[in-house]
């Protein structure tokens, strides 16, 4: 990510203070929350911190610049395979592999963006959906290189001794969270900055009306490509972290994953970073919540297994119909009303 927003190259002013504060706050919030959680929910928290980065990519892509992608899962796969291959084949350190995964997927995003800049709306949605299906199948096609369905086994490893000495015994779940969280905080920092600078305003202008944006001297094509590069860098990073939970393989990045990410972004509010956080919490914890409720009502397993996807689907529809701006929009609406 850091590369995509390098202030000098893109001539965007990076505003530091407030977004730094919020990123640190998010970091501490997750750490504090994890202290209240049992090991399973700590691992769910790691899931949230990981997927959040990919949901941020949709906040940028769809929320800020109006381009829709149903293929973020495929870009996650690019980041996942990139980092896993670097670790398993070249023996690179995990941390370096994560950083390189950002560049690999940003490069992929560049190509994707060049193709996608010509497309919008349903064309873009359909093309990225085809991509979500096709990219993971490459791993099966070139089996000897990508290890086919069995995939590449990778994990976060064990905490370094100096950290264990400092914090006491660190469980596998805690360590996973500690690996992911810094990246999540950096991603939040980047997204906040991007949205609130000239870049963000340019993107929004393109989103709201391409013709008037072009008249105002904005290079539409270039703007779209830049957004794609940034969003892909985020999604790729998320994919790398997601793969290191245990496995990088096609079935880790199915088409459903792309749709789940989009759902999280929409439920929370496409245009809000806070909304992305809320939406990710919702989709990760909803299945657990539903399981907890159904357990008490003796719901047969044939129904119970489908309830999470049914609930999430209905939630998505209700959001779109009643309040397309999502939870964040609703919140703002309430605050707005109270003021008057």
């Amino acid at each position: 990510m850091s590369k995509g927003i390098k202030p000098v190259r893109l001539k965007y002013k990076v505003i530091g203070g407030r977004s730094t504060l919020l990123s640190v706050a998010l970091f501490l919030f997750f750490i504090l929350l994890s202290k209240q959680f049992d090991a399973y929910n700590q691992s769910q928290l790691t899931n949230i911190a990981t997927l959040l980065i990919a949901v941020f990519s949709i906040t940028l892509l769809t929320g800020a610049s109006g381009q829709i992608s149903l293929g973020q899962g495929a870009i996650m796969a690019v980041g996942g395979y990139g980092s896993a291959l670097l670790v398993t084949r070249l023996g690179l350190s995990m941390w370096l592999a994560f950083v390189l995964a950002i560049f690999i997927s940003a490069l992929f995003g560049l190509f994707l963006g060049l193709a996608a800049a010509r497309l919008s709306g349903p064309y873009l949605a359909g093309t990225t959906l085809v991509m979500a299906l096709a990219i993971p199948s490459i791993a099966v096609r070139f089996e000897s290189f990508f290890s086919g369905d069995v995939g590449l086994s990778v994990d976060y490893g064990t905490p370094p001794t100096w950290l264990s000495n400092l914090l006491g015994e660190i469980s596998i779940e805690q360590w996973s969270l500690y690996v992911v969280l810094p990246f999540t905080a950096i991603a939040l920092f980047a997204v906040l900055n991007l949205s609130n600078t000239r870049a963000g305003r340019t993107w929004r202008a393109v989103r709201d009306n391409e013709v008037s944006a072009a008249l105002a001297g904005i290079n539409i094509g270039r703007t779209k490509v830049v957004v794609f590069v940034c969003a892909s860098a985020l999604a790729g990073l998320s994919g790398a972290l997601y793969g290191f939970r245990g496995l990088v393989a096609p079935s880790v990045y199915p088409t459903d994953l792309s749709l789940t990410l989009l759902t999280a972004a929409v439920i929370g509010g496409l245009r809000s970073v806070g909304g992305a956080i809320f939406g990710t919490f919702a989709i990760v914890f909803l299945p657990d919540l539903i399981e907890k409720i159904t357990k008490n009502f003796n719901v047969p397993e044939t129904i119970g297994n489908y309830l999470p996807s049914l609930t999430i689907g209905i939630l998505l529809l209700l959001t779109v119909i009643l309040n397309p701006r999502g939870a964040a929009g609703a919140l703002e609406h309430i605050r707005h009303r109270r003021k008057h």
Binding site: G246, F278, N305, A328, R335
Partner: protein
Amino acid sequence: MNLRKPLILTVVASALVGSLAISSVSASAAGDQGVSDSEIVLGMQLPQTGAASPGYNKVDDAARAYFDYVNSKGGVNGRNIKLVVKDDTYKAGLTITSASKLINEDKIFAFFGSVGTQTHVSVIKDINRRKIPDIFVNSGFSGFYTDPKKYPTTFGGLGTYTVEAKILGKYLKDKYSDKKIGVLYQSDDFGRNALAGFATAGLKFEAKKTSASFIAGTQGSIGLASQISQLKANGVDIVIIAAVSSATAVAYATAAQLGYKPSKWAVISVGADATTFQTILGSKGVPAATSAAMLAGTISASHAPAAGEADDVYVKAFKKINDDFNKGPDKRWDNNILQGMNIAYLATEALMGVGKDLTRAKLISYLENNGSKLSSAALAPLGYSKSTHEAFTGFWIGQYDATTLLAPIDGKRVVYTTDSGSGAVTVSNYKRPAIADDALPKVA
């Protein structure tokens, strides 16, 4: 767009959502979780829903039925066996999450009978690193079992695809040396593992001539017809199928539509479940008599008696337990139920064998040292030893008769045995001990 204002508030709201889902926080206790004076908790992961679920989604209910029966007889050393099941829809991303749930929230003692190769591969490393027993895995992928140093806690619950393909391949090669043998496989780990086994047995196939494939899970919506047409055009006489049962049914139907009648079909056992085969074809409007006739003559292999062998003592006992104790949505007796019951029987036997003082390490060492002596419905012993954790090392070759029963060819059952490496295929002389009258395993 103001991004910052609602941020703090939404973060708080998120925390609320999160905390709703939280159960009581408990410090991780030292020692082995999942065993108390009254209970042993086992966890199973399988696709209960989704494209890969048909047939296999009955395994958990069957195993639970057997455990319930054991519990009704007083359990194992006074402990009831509880089986917690998680649906992973055959997506590895979900398998990782639900494994964490089984370990940390359901506090299982061991993983038992997990179904699926590409899902289990995502968690096997973590399970082993935590030294949790991972017993009777329902996958024939040899990579899980042949290197116990890599996966010391994982033990198989199916004969490996390699062993089966070697035995089936050798049989076909010897018997039909004058015929052109071809293969139709699903292009995933299962199909490729089977191909490797056939290759070890000396059966090699040539792409576009004697070998056809399809993308696993598409069940013929993309180009199965053209692949089968190629086999037909190349005059393939004997077709081996390495695919799941629902795809096997589509392949038979497609071949029939194309007027392709190979003189023999041979199907790897996981894809040869007669019930699934007939159910699928039945809903396609094929009467049961016709689908039975389509299946008749098909060669397949099995490590256990056929589900339809009503006289077999194990089948008889398990069937009774299935009638009385299975609470699943579909309890029709078939191979999947037999397999579920049989691994539950084996697990009970192993837990009894370890004795009152049950720990994870003791279970693992018991299986490694005494596993090959455990008896079950299977007609071949478990291959467990210090050097391999692969399950049933033998298969017998049978042929479906007109009543969809897999019967030994020429009326005489010969069990062949081999390993997942390059070892030769030989005739096994294993004598299966009978099941006790109360259908509970007896440990010396």
